[in-house]
């Protein structure tokens, strides 16, 4: 069947047959599935991991190595078959868009052959996402975040960040007073020591922005303020239920935890609950004293460890649930990855396309020419001490190569250096859009006295510049469309160029 399909392509779509699209697609799909499955299985979380001992996944390194190797090998294999026939060089009939079609197919081919790693990481993320639904993951992260309020961790500084959050949840901000001069802070009319639990921070997850975190924190503080032990006990039960589900060890249950930390109304007298059973101990020689009712120091293998008497698996939970939250909320395989992969495929496709359209000799001369040109522009830029020199020369080079092609096409007096300049034009084409963007942005800033460091009011004062800056990432995708459109036109000109005399 496979052979028959190839034969049909040979008879009906010789270009597609010559590009070996069917074997290529079959190979690429099979390898993507393999890497997706590998990623899925390798994406399993080890809930005992805390991040302390995390030094990278050995399997990851091996798979990355093989993904890159397989990408390179499959591209070489593809090229070997693809290079066997070149209809353009043999002057086989071609319509005005067949060169464009050929490039587009190469581009798609490179996209699929250079993205095995993406499939691997996507598989990993899918596996991590599969642990819990978005709602469940958010619910659990909220519980863990609020629970972390009662575990060893940092405290707020003198600045009271609760006012804003209090306002958000409808608390009268007039009752919340920030103080930078006193050794206490006032919350809803009550004074609390900075060492009070009321001043504690909670751990955040990528699901929650600053505002959400503040709301969660305010909720906990309100329970404490209102002496709502039941709500807090309930939180602890939920927290420990999560820990137990992952078979993580803790030295306290919900009641004990509550007893150890609860000291209404001041919340100053409480025991530290460790975020793990033991941690490296560093003696800072700062005169700090270890509270032996909370922990003790032990030597193991010439290392000092601090053992907590009361501990919860907060570090392990935070480490793993952060991954779950990230997989849902800010996956690695996102539009940025897509942009990177698209540009890699675009670059590779133009390298190969230029080789097909011109020749290996022109290709090598273009590399040497660009190398020499780079050195010269570098020297020129250094002399001029301007960042614009380099970009101006590159921009001029692209425009110059393009005009030279059009002129030579019209003259029909030999190809001249067009084989080399066409190669350079194809290679540098994707940089045209970003350079123009950069120049437009810089000129706009220069003519409107835009201050890079004056953040306030900038969006109102310079809306166009701000829009341009915000649109930078989107423009990367627009640039790919621009390159595609230019190639649509250029491929027609390159076909004509192929027809003119060599010398």
């Amino acid at each position: 069947m496979f052979k028959n399909f190839q034969k049909q392509l040979l008879l009906k779509h010789p270009l597609v047959w010559n590009l070996k699209i069917i074997p290529l697609t079959t190979l690429a799909i099979a390898l993507h599935i393999v890497f997706l499955i590998l990623g899925y299985f390798n994406g399993q979380l080890n809930f005992t991991e805390t991040g302390n001992e995390y030094t990278g996944n050995g399997a990851d390194v091996t798979i990355i190595f093989f993904a890159v190797l397989i990408s390179i090998l499959s591209i070489i294999l593809w090229c070997v078959y693809y290079f066997k026939n070149n209809g353009l060089k043999s002057f086989y009939p071609k319509n005005n868009f067949s060169l464009f079609k050929e490039w587009l197919l190469i581009f798609i081919g490179f996209f699929f052959l250079s993205t095995f790693l993406v499939s691997y990481y996507y598989g990993k993320e899918v596996r991590v996402r599969d642990y819990y639904t978005l709602e469940e993951a958010q619910k659990r992260c909220k519980t863990l975040s609020q629970g972390s309020f009662f575990v060893d961790g940092s405290y707020s500084n003198n600045y009271d960040d609760g006012a804003e959050a209090a306002e958000a949840v409808g608390v009268d901000t007039a009752t919340t007073v920030a103080s930078n001069t006193k050794d206490y802070f006032t919350y809803r009319g009550r004074n609390y020591s900075y060492n009070s639990l009321m001043n504690k921070n909670l751990n955040s997850y990528s699901f929650f922005d600053y505002e959400k975190d503040s709301i969660h924190k305010e909720e906990v503080k309100t329970w404490l303020y209102n002496n709502d032990k039941k709500a807090i006990q309930n939180l602890f039960k939920n927290y420990l239920a999560i820990a137990n589900e992952h078979k993580l060890k803790s030295s306290v249950d919900a009641n004990k935890w509550l007893n150890l930390i609860y000291d209404y109304p001041t919340f100053t007298n409480f025991k530290t609950i460790g975020s793990e059973e033991k941690d490296y101990y560093y003696n800072n020689n700062d005169g700090s004293v270890i509270d032996t009712t909370e922990c003790y120091i032990a030597f193991e293998n010439n290392e000092q460890y601090k053992y907590y008497k009361f501990y919860l698996p907060e570090k392990a939970l935070q480490f793993n649930y952060s991954k779950i939250a990230d997989a849902h909320n800010k996956p690695d395989i996102d539009s940025e990855t897509l942009a990177i992969v698209l540009y890699i495929a675009l670059g590779l496709s133009l390298l190969l396309f230029s080789f097909r359209v011109t020749s290996g000799k022109s290709w090598l001369i273009a590399i040497v020419s660009l190398g020499v040109l780079n050195i010269l522009i570098g020297i020129l830029s250094a002399i001029a001490s301007s960042e614009y020199v380099y970009l101006t020369v590159v921009l001029s080079l692209i425009v110059g190569c393009f005009i030279y092609l059009l002129v030579k096409n019209n003259q029909n007096k030999g190809k001249g250096f067009t084989a080399v300049t066409n190669t350079i034009l194809l290679w540098t084409l994707p940089s045209f859009g970003p350079i123009v963007y950069y120049f437009v942005l810089e000129i706009s800033k220069a003519v409107s006295d835009y201050n890079e460091y004056a953040y306030a009011g900038r969006a109102i004062e310079f809306p166009k510049i701000e829009w341009l800056k915000d649109a930078g990432f989107i423009l990367l995708f627009v640039n790919i469309i621009f390159v595609i459109l230019v190639l649509l036109f250029l491929s027609k000109k390159l076909k004509q160029w192929r027809g003119i005399a060599e010398s």
């Binding site: 049909q8 040979l10 008879l11 009906k12 010789p14 047959w17 010559n18 066997k84 026939n85 209809g87 002057f91 086989y92 009939p93 071609k94 029909n412 007096k413 030999g414 076909k495 004509q496 192929r498 027809g499 003119i500 005399a501 060599e502 010398s503």
Partner: protein, 387 residues
């Protein structure tokens, strides 16, 4: 009697004398002329039948006759192609810079169905002229005019097939390569395989259809190039030294193939070929251009003869003899000998137009001159080589 009728009569003679080898080739040519897939299939079936019934002479003759008749019926309805001018070059020159080689001025005109032979010693501009005509080089001076439609220069060059002396390697099976070419040239899927089969058979390549390029001799490589060329349906075929690597028999076969391809009654093409095989090319070509240091000398110049063309009617004979130059001079002088040159083992004797070849033979017999070989080169570019 039109061109097709003449050709058909010739084929009937082949049948009459059971010259099946040439007849098979010409039947394939006629089949390709029909441009009809049903005929392609019928002829292919017939070729397969022939393979299986090599010894069945009686039935073979009947089958040949039947196929011929069917082709005749179809082609009789088809209009005969006009012999239009394909390309004309006027004062064509190519210079590679001061004090380097320069070609031209060249004047030529090539019609459909004509073969133009380019002869000359190495380095005298044959390849340059071929490359100028196929658009691979641009002319420094003068003009080339192609008298057929084309959209742009690329489109023009798809219709001018140039086969250089050193051809590129083909990768993969030969059959697949030809199918790829056929497909690129717009043959329909249903006719692709069958037309490739026909062309392979036409050039005697059936045994080599699945061979790789490297396993073929240079003669067969040339044949595959010709097979590909046939699929490309060129207006003009330009071919550099096609006979270079062929034995004498293969040379004659290839030249005969060129002749029948060029002179198709329905799809005539122009062929320009360069060669060192002077006499073979002269036999096949309608025009011969001799190039010496880039300058043109024409043979068979019909009208507007230039100083460079052979216009006089002198008798020029090339011969080999055991006699020395003085002995020969003394014997030829009384018959009005104009010149006698010794040229690399052979003599070239020139007589006025009053002396004929028969007279020359009479002198040989009469004077008992020992001659091992002689050739009348009065109408051959060989004259230019030796002059």
């Amino acid at each position: 009697m039109n061109e097709f009728q003449k050709q058909f009569e010739e084929l009937q003679n082949f049948l009459k004398f059971e010259d099946y080898s040439i007849l098979t080739k010409r039947i394939i040519d006629l089949t390709l002329d029909t441009e009809d897939v049903s005929h392609y299939k019928k002829t292919n079936d017939f070729l397969n039948w022939l393979d299986r019934n090599e010894e069945n002479n009686f039935e073979k003759k009947e089958k040949f006759a039947s196929v011929l008749n069917e082709l005749h019926q179809t082609l009789s309805q088809k209009p005969i192609a006009e012999r239009k001018v394909l390309v004309s070059a006027s004062k064509l020159e190519k210079s590679y810079g001061i004090s380097r080689f320069g070609l031209g001025p060249i004047n030529l005109e090539l019609r459909q169905g004509e073969i133009l032979g380019l002869v000359g010693e190495n380095g005298n501009g044959k390849t340059t002229l071929l490359r100028l005509l196929c658009g691979d080089l641009f002319a420094t001076n003068g003009t080339i005019k192609y008298n057929f439609d084309y959209q742009d220069l690329y489109d023009l060059r798809t219709q001018l097939v140039y086969i250089p002396q050193r051809t590129d390697t083909w990768y993969g099976s030969m059959f697949e390569n030809l199918q790829f070419t056929a497909s690129c040239y717009g043959y329909l899927p249903e006719e692709n395989e069958v037309i490739v089969e026909l062309i392979i058979a036409r050039l005697g390549l059936r045994k080599f259809r699945n061979h790789s390029w490297k396993s073929l001799s240079s003669g067969y490589k040339m044949r595959f190039e010709l097979a590909r060329m046939l699929l490309r349906k060129p207006k003009i075929l330009l071919i550099d030294e096609p006979l270079a690597n062929l034995d004498i028999l293969a040379q004659q076969t290839v030249l005969e193939d060129f002749k029948s391809i060029a002179k198709s009654a329905f799809r005539p093409i122009g062929i320009v070929l360069s060669s060192q095989q002077l006499y073979e090319v002269e036999k096949t070509s309608d025009q011969v251009i001799f190039l010496k240091q880039g300058k043109q000398k024409n043979l068979h110049e019909k009208e507007n003869a230039t100083d460079d063309s052979i216009t006089d009617k002198q008798l020029v004979i090339e011969f080999e003899s055991a006699f020395n130059q003085k002995q020969l001079g003394d014997l030829f002088d009384p018959f009005g000998m104009i010149s006698l040159q010794f040229n690399g083992g052979t003599y070239i004797v020139t007589f006025p137009d009053t002396v004929s070849v028969t007279n020359f033979m009479e002198i040989i017999i009469q004077k008992n001159i020992p001659v091992t070989y002689f050739r009348n080169i009065s109408n051959s570019t060989r004259r230019f080589f030796v002059s």
